[in-house]
Symmetry: C2
Subunit: 195 residues, 2 copies
DNA sequence: ACCTGAACACCGTTCAAGT
DNA sequence: ACCTGAACACCGTTCAAGT
């Protein structure tokens, strides 16, 4: 156990882990490459090997965020059993949980212009859970037939918007569950085949 | 016309105007108090009289943004004639227009924890247009009766979420109109009294 | 009341040099 | 291959001093 375990390839991971902590506790604008290097016990120039500039670190953080978001959505989806509406509510709840617990990270995930292809792909993987959900709903007749991605985007946008309203402080956190429930009900009724 | 017209009380306004320009062109993170002071022809310490720190300037920018957003929503609402659905679509379109044209400013408006009361109030004024819209819809029977603010928040969240998806680059700008139209239709169907 | 200008501590980025 | 340490230009913030 030396003081410097970062000669073996884990500096990148250590920087990312510390960065994620700092972002959660103090926000993106307080994230400094030099401070990060200090906390991790390395000279201020060392991170450059792994992240050429600050934006590269932020992109990597965003990508890791999408990775984790996808995992959490998938897990909520699987946990909820077979019923479509239960899966819908569970997945939506998982999204807002992520969004409120890691508000600064989510802001980061939505901030960039997403120029990196890997970032774009990670985002699409996270979104694929929602697509799957929509397709199940359509197959069961709970949702009208149509382009699943259009319907999915409307649902996703609504949940994302609610999270944004709450984390910005424009709506109090106590109203979160109520709003998500309202939105889900709204969505179901608006998408049900008229019949 | 001297070189220094900022001894008469318009320094604050000049700083805000230049800051808004910079934010639109280069984003919030590129906004520097020192550069702003230079551009406006004043020493770097001068802004401090009007904005004690950087955050104070950002708060003022956000407040001005809500002011302008409210005006634009109101104008779209008024322009649309008496028909409820036309007003709904016009107001939603005005929101996403603002959101995509001034994406960085909107990000700023949603970023803070909104500690300043005046900011909170400006946001509520902007939102009041949507409340009014909902109440008209309910009065006409196009929307089911219920707490207007809950219904309004769901609508607002959806439009805000769509704007976020587009400005983040996760959804291409060409799909904006399509998505807004889908969301509005969805909303109307989901809120229509069953009857 | 409003602004100046020096000072301080911090930053991102670059780059030659070390192992 | 990976990291160090000096250097540069830039910040935000503070504060005594000017008008």
């Amino acid at each position: 156990m030396s003081d410097r375990p970062y000669h073996h390839g884990n500096l990148r991971a250590a920087l990312l882990a510390q960065a994620e902590r700092t972002v959660r506790e103090r926000g993106v604008q307080d994230l400094s490459l030099r401070e990060l290097a200090r906390e991790v016990g390395v000279s201020h120039g060392a991170p450059r090997r792994h992240f050429p500039d600050r934006q590269a670190l932020l992109d990597a953080l965003a990508e890791a965020g999408f990775e984790r978001l996808g995992t959490e959505l998938r897990s909520a989806f699987d946990r909820a059993g077979d019923d479509f509406e239960a899966r819908l509510r569970s997945t939506a709840a998982a999204y807002v949980r992520f969004a409120t617990r890691d508000a600064a990270l989510l802001e980061l995930m939505f901030a960039g212009k997403h120029r990196e292809r890997s970032l774009q792909e990670a985002a699409e993987r996270a979104f694929s859970v929602i697509l799957e959900l929509i397709e199940q709903g359509q197959a069961e007749g709970a949702l009208e037939a149509g382009e699943a991605d259009r319907v999915g985007l409307v649902l996703f946008a609504t949940v994302q918007g609610i999270a944004a309203l709450v984390t910005s402080g424009m709506v109090s956190a106590e109203r979160l569950d109520e709003l998500v429930a309202d939105a889900t009900t709204h969505f179901l009724r608006g998408s049900r085949t008229a019949a």
